[in-house]
């Protein structure tokens, strides 16, 4: 019973965090065809900004988180303007630039803070006693915040004028021109939203896990696996796939004694299996459309 409850909580928590990361990755890929390998690096940067805000500047955690989300959005838009925009039609160049950016961020933080693990105090303290298990409030808070973020994104994409424009560009760039949408503008905004989501994931995770310059690598594998499993570019697919992977990893950690070293292999294994059996993923290839 205790294992089961722990499993569900850990799975939801980890899956939810990965869902936010994967959604951001799927969003910018679907809209601008940017395979942003620096996506989880933004998440690392956001966590570090919170750490700096709390430990060096002395801000309260909530304020540091807010500042970090805003700064990360800004940073991503600057990166887009400086690097991605020039080569946006050249998909391979875009991907290489994003890898370089991720490395750059990693090295900067390694230089300044070294390869140490840094902790951040939780926003909410204490825990709930359910008799069999204790659930800490920080985990519950993280879970709730993940759900609210996903819900907010869904509302943004389905109900607002901006959301409709973003989806139009994702589905047919050429026709988006014809209804008067400035595509480059939408790319930039989407980049900001995508990095903002990564920063939210960072803000959720920073108090639970540790902050470290290499913390972007493992989630990147998970995010790539989730996007492949969900279907490239599909946002709904990314959310569901991330939750599946979150639970799969939790299962491995809890059910195999001393098996936590295997968790990294789970998403990779899923990615390979999906690519072999069903390359379009859960929600890929929706309609067969005649193009020009």
């Amino acid at each position: 019973m205790e294992t089961l409850t722990n499993l569900v909580i850990h799975g939801l928590l980890y899956g939810g965090m990965c869902a936010i990361l994967a959604v951001g990755f799927a969003l910018i890929f679907g809209v601008a065809k940017i395979v942003n390998m620096a996506h989880t690096a933004f998440y690392m940067v956001a966590s570090f900004i919170i750490f700096i805000g709390v430990s060096r500047v002395g801000l309260p955690v909530w304020l540091a988180s807010l500042v970090s989300i805003l700064l990360t959005c800004l940073l991503s838009v600057i990166c887009y303007k400086l690097f991605f925009e020039r080569v946006k039609h050249h998909e391979t160049a875009v991907m290489i630039i994003s890898v370089a950016l991720a490395m750059l961020f990693q090295e900067i933080f390694l230089l300044i803070f070294g390869g140490h693990y840094h902790g951040i105090p939780a926003l909410v303290k204490g825990f709930m006693d359910l008799g069999v298990v204790r659930i800490s409030y920080k985990n519950l808070f993280a879970l709730g915040f993940s759900l609210i973020t996903l819900l907010g994104l869904w509302l943004l994409l389905s109900k607002t004028r901006l959301g409709i424009a973003i989806r139009s560009v994702a589905q047919d760039r050429e026709v988006a021109n014809l209804v008067g949408i400035n595509i480059n503008h939408i790319y930039m905004i989407t980049m900001g939203i995508s990095a903002g989501l990564a920063a939210v994931a960072g803000a959720i995770v920073a108090p639970i896990f540790m902050v470290h310059p290499l913390m972007w690598m493992q989630p990147l594998v998970m995010v790539l696996a989730a996007v492949v499993l969900g279907g490239l570019g599909s946002i709904k697919g990314a959310v569901i796939a991330a939750l599946i992977l979150g639970f799969a990893e939790s299962l491995v950690i809890f059910l195999i004694p001393d098996g936590s070293f295997l968790r990294g292999a789970v998403s990779l294994a899923v990615m390979v299996v999906v690519l072999v059996i069903r390359p379009e993923g859960l929600y890929g290839v929706v309609f067969e459309e005649e193009r020009l």
């Binding site: 139009s168 026709v175 209804v179 008067g180 949408i181 929706v286």
Partner: protein, 249 residues
């Protein structure tokens, strides 16, 4: 002159798709542009609405070849050849692409909302929406249907509806009859006449000349990238050159 295209030349690499073509449309007119497959009709529409320019920009930095575009497109007294496509749409010069091309994962309603992207006034949006539903009651029935699952005729209707939502002043319709059953075609052309009846200027591109001649009192004939002739349907049908362009007429 409402729309005046002068000496438009488009090259894809070294292949000349449009060779020095000119065309003009008066306000309130319905003009046809006919010609066989591969004549360059769609390229001409894309060049007028800025898509060729956009495609040219999107090839920058890649190894996929080069597009050259020369000439002048004047709409409402304003030169548009170097204006980006979204700005051209903003001026009311709207293209319904071939096969409609609705945003296929979005519902009919969302497609129409996307059409109204540049319209700020809620009342104008509401009025346009009523107009679209009045012209195309079928779209109202399918309001929440995902547009990728619509039939060919419905997609074209949706595309025209989307253009009306964008407050089209001059509507370019590219081959609305492609792939449609005769009865559906007939119905669609009645609707296009209704749209013209609303006071919207129309430039209709067609392969099926019977429909174009039915709608437009003045027609251009394009073949192999060149404007061969123009005139009323009667003149054109009597003309030898169009018989040569369309064997079997």
């Amino acid at each position: 002159m409402y729309l005046e295209v002068r000496n438009l030349t488009v090259l894809y690499d070294r292949a000349m798709v449009l060779n020095n073509v000119s065309l003009n449309v008066e306000k309130g007119e319905a003009v046809g542009l006919v010609g066989p497959n591969g004549a360059g009709k769609s390229t001409m529409m894309r060049a007028i609405t800025g898509l060729v320019q956009w495609e040219k920009d999107s090839l920058k930095g890649t190894t996929k070849g080069k597009i050259t575009i020369e000439g002048s497109v004047v709409f409402n007294g304003e030169e548009l050849i170097n204006v980006p496509a979204p700005r051209i749409a903003q001026r009311g010069l709207i293209l319904c692409p071939e096969r409609g091309r609705p945003f296929r994962e979005m519902t009919v309603k969302e497609n129409l909302e996307a059409g109204a992207y540049l319209v700020k006034d809620k009342r104008v949006i509401k009025d346009s929406l009523d107009k679209v539903y009045y012209l195309f009651p079928r779209l109202k029935e399918r309001i929440d249907q995902v547009s990728g699952t619509l039939s060919g005729g419905e997609r074209t209707m949706l595309s025209i509806g989307r253009a009306l939502m964008s407050q089209a002043k001059l509507l370019l319709i590219d081959e609305p009859s492609t792939g449609l059953a005769p009865l559906v075609k007939q119905d669609l052309f009645t609707r296009i006449k209704d749209v013209h009846g609303l006071g919207i200027t129309i430039l209709l591109v067609e392969q099926d000349i019977s429909f174009a001649f039915d709608l437009a009192p003045r027609n251009y004939v394009l073949s192999q990238g060149k404007m061969i002739t123009q005139g009323s349907p009667e003149e054109l049908l009597a003309d030898e050159s169009i018989r040569r362009t369309y064997p079997g007429l």
